[in-house]
């Protein structure tokens, strides 16, 4: 049961994190944040969130580990294959009209989604004229993304996803296997720039033809969702494309009228002006 006092303590904890370290979790979905904090409270044997606040303020290492717990980094390659299929059939033709293509993956986690995009672009003959910016709040996952090394045990699942997503080659073309891991091919990496960017507190990152931000907004409350959607709107070129996660929508936001559905079912939108 969550008591009023406990909720106040959590508010203070999040405020403390923001004041001290600049990471703003105050407008994240409450239930999810509370669940993460509860798990952390139990695993660190602390008596209360107030005690946790004290530890956060005085022990940077503890904060770093908490930060990892607060950002959920679950991801996979070609997650939701039908989404990538729709990108190929409906969005690639739009991208083909541009001489240079800039793509921004916001909340890219360990990079699986970004490499999936690079593979798709290569198969569509667009990789050479594309540049992909991939950002995340969490520096640790970014470091992993940059390495482009993924566990071998996942490859079977990813290969199935790739094929369902309309992949035209053999998936093994895109990585080199060594021991229990695979390393993504350099020609894919060369087209990706990874950097830290916090959607809650930072401004426009780049001007993009396509912004992909999947399964990040679900962790935000309405207010922060609106703010971030505004940021995306301002970052897109005229008629730029915005792709959200399969359970995210622009429909009920402040920016519903600035976009049209390009592929409604896959939550792919086009900026009107």
């Amino acid at each position: 049961m969550s008591s009023i006092n406990e909720n106040i303590e959590i508010i203070c904890l999040l405020e403390g994190i923001y004041q001290k370290y600049g990471y703003d979790f105050r407008n994240y979905s409450q239930a999810s944040v509370r669940r993460r904090l509860k798990l952390k409270l139990n695993s660190s044997n602390l008596p209360s969130y107030s005690a946790m606040l004290h530890k956060v303020l005085y022990e940077k290492d503890f904060f770093d580990s908490l930060l990892l717990d607060l950002t959920i980094n679950v991801t996979e390659m070609f997650r939701d294959p039908t989404f990538y299929k729709a990108l190929r059939s409906d969005i690639v033709p739009i991208l083909k009209t541009y001489p240079h293509i800039k793509i921004w993956h916001a909340g890219c986690s360990t990079g699986e989604e970004v490499y999936s995009m690079a593979i798709l672009l290569e198969e569509e003959g667009l990789l050479k004229r594309s540049l992909i910016y991939a950002t995340d709040i969490n520096e640790l996952v970014l470091a992993k993304a940059k390495e482009g090394i993924f566990p071998l045990e996942k490859i079977k699942e990813y290969t199935t996803n790739y094929q369902r997503a309309g992949g035209t080659e053999s998936f093994a073309e895109y990585y080199t296997a060594s021991y229990d891991a695979v390393i993504m091919k350099k020609r894919l990496k060369d087209k990706i720039v990874f950097s830290q960017h916090n959607l809650a507190t930072d401004g426009i990152f780049t001007e993009a033809h396509l912004i992909v931000c999947r399964n990040v907004l679900i962790y935000f409350n309405k207010e922060l969702q609106n703010k971030v959607l505004g940021l995306f709107k301002d970052s897109l070129i005229r008629k730029g494309v915005l792709a959200l996660g399969s359970k995210e929508t622009i429909k009920f936001s402040n920016y519903a009228n600035d976009f049209i559905e390009l592929v409604g079912k896959e939550k792919i939108y086009g900026k009107i002006r």
Binding site: M1, S2, A31, S32, R35, I72, I218
Partner: protein, 187 residues
């Protein structure tokens, strides 16, 4: 009067059990029902469409930030955890699997306890694992009502049995009797 929401967890053998339950729930049933049925990551909204076809309630897949309404059944979409916010809106997340499951029954139930305290009914039906047992324990602790399908007659008994290892449920019943009990609770 007392109860404001029902959380319902079911796994292997679920389709048959849900069919019996929902065909026996009265048309005017008011309290919102939030449902986790374990399913494969790629599943579509078949279950929602099917359940909608066999009862008079509104049945839909849960949408992110959706406000919970009476007379409605919300189903956790495949590959997402479903949670309830204190303001009675829904949240979806792709957090790690819990009990090898996403959606996980425990995740829904524990957030429901935070949102509804003792005004909550938890139900566990047939299933082959122990997801939901922790959540039921929390519901009981908070003073909510706990109901399980009789493991002796459940298609797969493990899931309701796992609940009995943690708590003494308020009711251990056949599916028809669960429907009858729910029908007798009015708000």
């Amino acid at each position: 009067m007392k109860y404001e929401a029902i959380v319902l967890g079911v796994s292997a053998g679920g389709l048959k059990a849900l069919t019996t339950l929902f065909t026996n729930i009265k048309d005017s049933f008011k309290i919102p029902i939030l449902l986790v049925q374990h399913m494969h990551a790629g599943s579509d909204d078949y279950l929602a469409r099917y359940l909608a076809s066999i009862c008079k309630l509104t049945v839909k897949e849960a949408d992110e930030k959706e406000k919970i309404k009476n007379r409605t059944v919300y189903i956790a979409p495949a590959n997402y955890h479903l949670m309830i916010e204190d303001d009675k809106t829904l949240s979806l997340t792709i957090d790690q699997k819990v009990n090898y499951s996403r959606p996980s029954i425990d995740v829904l139930f524990e957030s429901a306890v935070d949102a509804y305290n003792d005004k909550l009914i938890g139900i566990i039906l047939t299933g082959a694992n122990d997801d939901g047992a922790r959540g039921m324990e929390q519901i009981k602790k908070a003073g909510g009502l706990t109901i399980i399908q009789n493991p002796k007659t459940a298609e797969v008994p493990s899931m309701p049995e796992a609940v009995t290892k943690r708590i003494k449920p308020d009711h251990i019943l056949e599916l028809e009797a669960i429907a009858k009990l729910l029908n007798s609770i009015t708000i």
